[in-house]
């Protein structure tokens, strides 16, 4: 299945990766070859097979922990990761337009 340039642009947009125009062709070829390679999965009869999302889904329930505060009072530590901060605020670019 050929992959056209517009599809690559759409995928790059969805992945929020700024793929330069000069690379679009190369990425298209890569997606094409992956799909060609993945074609052979179609040989496998999976008509009555449920998809497997976790190897644990057979017999092990996921464990919930109690909903309680286990740590806190670490404002300064949390702030230490901020690219910018001002007056105790975690400063980020405007994310709601």
């Amino acid at each position: 299945m050929p992959v056209d340039i517009n599809t690559v642009k759409q995928v790059a947009y969805l992945a929020r990766l700024k793929v330069p125009d000069s690379d679009l062709e190369k990425v298209a070829k890569e997606l094409e070859s992956l799909c060609q390679w993945a074609e052979h999965l179609k040989e496998v009869d999976t008509e009555f097979v449920e998809p497997l999302t976790s190897v644990l889904d057979k017999d092990m329930p996921l464990i919930y922990r109690d909903d309680k505060v286990t740590e806190g009072g670490i404002r300064d530590e949390l702030m230490s990761l901020a690219t910018e901060n001002e007056d105790g605020y975690y400063e980020v670019p405007q994310v709601v337009e």
């Binding site: 992945a15 990766l17 890569e30 993945a38 097979v49 998809p51 990761l81 690219t83 670019p93």
Partner: protein, 493 residues
């Protein structure tokens, strides 16, 4: 006296308790070795000051008879584990300046047991690769060289290649790895050390930077089976911060070592003999089968009919999961940030500059596969085939107790040779290791032979879910029979 960096953990622990040398001296010996071996680039961040501080505390605890299982032992931590107050990079530019304020559960367990952090070991960017060649901080060198060829630099395998090289070269006594599709086992084979990928859920993934969450698992790497067992006892266990970790008691794995295999059945998967496999690998495998027979095991051939689909299945699932997991790196809350005129541009510019070629490629593939018109044909299909791969193993384990296979179809190659391989060949390198990842099974690699060109080769033991004890026992029998003593070339001064 033997050089301190050549000791096993078991030997060093005994000597530390008996006061033959101190944890500080042991750390100093390793720091010296690290300085001599800088060219290996096994560590992204070395932490000698912290190591000496931790060793000093270990010496106090040893004096007060309060030594933990790993008290005073120099440990390399794969730079995919978050370490409080120590730069954590995942070998990616996008995590520039990321100094976590929390500790991964597994590393915390290691520090609580007295382990001494020597540094954060190199890896492929976000653990994506099999050579430790894709990271932002450069390639790691394998300490091993081909016989008569001291020039060609070989890769240590990957993605836990920094850990494997550091353990092999005596830059730490053991290290942590992570394994998504072979990332502990293939480098263990390339560097002549022992590595275990535990059952999915055996170790907590909390605080380990995620690549493909349904496959990622933490595991130990060391120079002997006993040392690996010791580290595993510390790393394993339930964690209420990881809902996929198993609520099972952690056995004393060292007690499982030795003995014989009377009454046990070992399966030899007939699909693991593809063309193009190095004849030395086949020879080692045949020898391994003989060793297990000598130990009393019955050997039978088994079939894992969907093996040929494992690599594709792995690639589809891992790419899809990584595209989701890596969506969190947006330049907003931490790490690298690049400006843009709009918010979308900030994201796209940050991610384009922050991610290297390999993560970018896999994110694009994953995003493409998860698109509406491809989802059923590729992603869902791969998840269905994955169930059949799991069933193959389930069926085999009705007849056998464990499986024996080679770890890799070849010995270590150079980065140049690896780069010139077509992508399919590169992935073939993971052909023997990735099926056990898809099935979440415990699988361990033990160095078992030296190839005709002087490089290490490992055998792989695959066990039933949570049967790490059985895997350790078989590994100890192979280790003894193989009598693998050759050491890599080291810089001595």
């Amino acid at each position: 006296m033997t050089d301190l960096v050549d000791l096993t953990i078991a030997e060093a622990r005994k000597a530390l308790d008996e006061g033959e040398f101190t944890a500080t001296e042991l750390a100093e010996a390793h720091i010296k070795e690290m300085e001599k071996a800088k060219h290996l680039n096994a560590y992204i961040t070395e932490t000698p000051d912290l190591a000496l501080e931790m060793a000093k505390k270990s010496d106090e605890r040893i004096k007060n008879k309060k030594a933990g299982l790993l008290e005073g032992i120099p440990v390399g931590m794969k730079d995919l584990y978050c370490t409080k107050g120590v730069l954590t990079t995942a070998a990616s530019h996008i995590l520039d300046g990321f100094v976590p304020f929390y500790e991964s559960t597994v590393s915390e367990k290691i520090w609580n047991a007295g382990g001494v952090l020597m540094g954060k070991t190199n890896l492929d960017e976000f653990a994506m690769g099999s050579g430790t060649i894709t990271g932002y901080y450069g390639c790691t060198e394998n300490p091993w060289k081909r016989t008569g060829d001291n020039k060609t630099v070989l890769v240590p395998g990957g993605s836990s290649g920094g850990s494997a090289a550091a353990v092999s070269a005596g830059l730490c006594m053991c290290a942590t790895g992570t394994d998504t599709g072979g990332s502990i086992r293939q480098p263990a084979s390339f560097c002549g050390i022992v590595g275990l990928k535990p059952t999915y859920g055996r170790c907590s993934r909390y605080g380990i930077i995620a690549f493909a969450s349904s496959l990622d698992q933490a595991g130990p790497m060391a120079r002997t089976v006993e040392d690996t067992a010791l580290l595993m006892e510390v790393m394993a266990g339930f964690d209420d911060k990881d809902s996929t970790s198993a609520q099972l008691a952690v056995p004393n794995y060292r007690k499982a070592l030795g003995g014989d295999l009377k009454g046990k059945v070992v399966g030899i998967p007939k699909e693991y003999r593809p063309s193009g496999i190095n004849p030395d690998v086949i020879k080692m495998w045949d020898e391994g089968i003989r060793w297990l027979k000598d130990a009393g095991a019955e050997v039978v051939e088994v079939s894992l009919p969907h093996t040929e689909y494992a690599l594709t299945t792995y690639h589809v699932i891992a790419s899809a999961e990584c595209s989701s997991n890596l969506a969190r790196y947006d330049g907003i809350r931490f790490g690298l940030r690049k400006d843009g005129k709009t918010l979308d541009e900030v994201y796209a510019n940050t991610r384009m500059e922050g991610f290297g070629n390999e993560p970018r490629r896999r994110i694009l593939i994953g995003t493409y596969i998860l698109g509406e018109s491809r989802y059923n044909d590729y992603f869902l299909k791969a998840q269905k085939v994955r169930r059949l791969i799991v069933k193959d193993f389930d069926d085999a384990f009705k007849k056998v107790d464990f499986l024996l296979t080679p770890a890799a179809p070849s010995t270590a190659v150079s980065a140049e040779e690896m780069k010139n391989q077509d992508p399919i060949t590169v992935f073939l390198n993971d052909a023997f290791v990735c099926p056990a990842s898809l099935a979440g099974l415990p699988a361990m690699v033990v160095p078992s032979a030296i190839s005709s060109d002087g490089l290490p080769l490992g055998l792989q033991i695959i066990g039933k879910p949570f049967a790490e004890e059985q895997v350790f026992q078989v590994a100890s029998i192979i280790e003894k029979a193989a009598n693998f003593t050759k050491q890599p070339h080291r810089v001595r001064g």
